[in-house]
């Protein structure tokens, strides 16, 4: 799964968040950083690949941010139903 951002700063901040999560949660994780975000082919988005072991709750937040406002409330209800 990849997270897509409109700005490089947002992508770098998210990459740092992943890096810090891995430092705490993945035994033996040995990296100076998680990633250097890459540009999309058209150059107007920034992409960060997610590690497989990144928690599902965090991945769902990314999905939520991609949805239009109209269906966000329905999406939140579905998440609550399946994660609680």
């Amino acid at each position: 799964m990849r997270a897509i951002f409109k700005t490089e700063k947002a992508a770098v901040d998210f990459s740092d968040k992943i890096h810090n999560w891995l430092l705490k949660n993945r035994k033996g994780y040995n990296a100076e950083r998680w990633s250097i975000p890459s540009k999309s082919k058209n150059g107007n988005k920034w992409i960060v690949k997610l590690p497989e072991d990144y928690p599902i709750s965090e991945k769902l937040v990314i999905y939520e941010n991609l949805l239009s406002t109209r269906i966000k409330s329905l999406y939140k209800k579905l998440i609550q139903k399946f994660t609680h």
Binding site: H19, N30, E32, S35, I36
Partner: protein
């Protein structure tokens, strides 16, 4: 009769294969030699050392770019995985032996390269499953089917260079004269694009135009070890 005082506690290191001791191997990367691999609990690899201790170690400091050590070899995801040594003096003739599998094929994805882009690249070009070399010019070989383990031999030595799959007749020609100057595995030397989706069990990089006899000795070592 040998006196007891003449016995020594020194144990001589013995080498089993000629390429371990002839001084021509600049990088020997063995996925079964776990002591040479630094990985985390999810088997993502930050360091794959040269088994001969030259210091020409394959490194990856960014988590997302780290290949994964699996039961049957080093897995490169084709998205952003690669390794890279620091630059070092590595000039033609350069002879590379790989036990590898192309999982999928995508034009210009690079199996390995030198320190800078196309300084000595083996990549996927033309149409699947073709591989070709390039260090200023290129040699093509389409005999390694996808998702099939094979032993690939690449010689960069101007004319004639060669690209050989298993024990098939090598394809010879001109691969150009650029010098690798280091090793990049899984991408071109610039390492910002064209990542190969592949697996590698073992790779031997040499700075010699090995004779046919010596090349076949290395081939037979790899063939026997991995039952290919």
């Amino acid at each position: 009769m040998i006196k007891q005082s003449e016995f020594s506690n020194i144990v001589s290191a013995t080498t089993k294969y000629f390429f371990e001791a002839d001084g021509e191997t600049v990088g020997w990367y063995d996925s079964t030699a776990l002591s040479t691999i630094t990985k985390d609990a999810s088997n993502f690899v930050s360091r794959w050392n040269d088994k001969l201790g030259s210091g020409h170690d394959l490194l990856q400091a960014s988590g997302t770019n780290q290949p994964e050590l699996r039961a049957d070899g080093m897995f490169f995801d084709g998205i952003d995985n690669f390794f890279k040594t620091a630059p070092f003096a590595y000039e033609q003739p350069e002879y590379v032996y790989l036990v590898m599998k192309q999982i999928t094929w995508s034009s210009l994805d690079a199996i390995f390269d030198g320190n800078t882009s196309t300084s000595g690249v083996l990549w996927q070009t033309g149409s699947s499953p073709n591989l070709s070399t390039f260090a200023g010019a290129g040699v093509n070989n389409n005999q390694l089917a996808l998702d099939t383990w094979g032993i690939v031999r690449v010689l960069f030595n101007g004319i004639p260079s060669l690209l050989q799959i298993n024990a098939n007749a090598p394809v010879t020609g001109n691969s150009g004269t650029s010098d690798m100057g280091g090793i990049t595995m899984g991408s071109r030397g610039q390492a910002d694009t064209r990542y190969a989706h592949m697996m590698v069990k073992e790779a031997i990089f040499r700075k010699a135009a090995d004779s046919e006899a010596n090349s076949n000795k290395i081939y037979n070592y790899l063939k026997s070890k991995y039952s290919l």
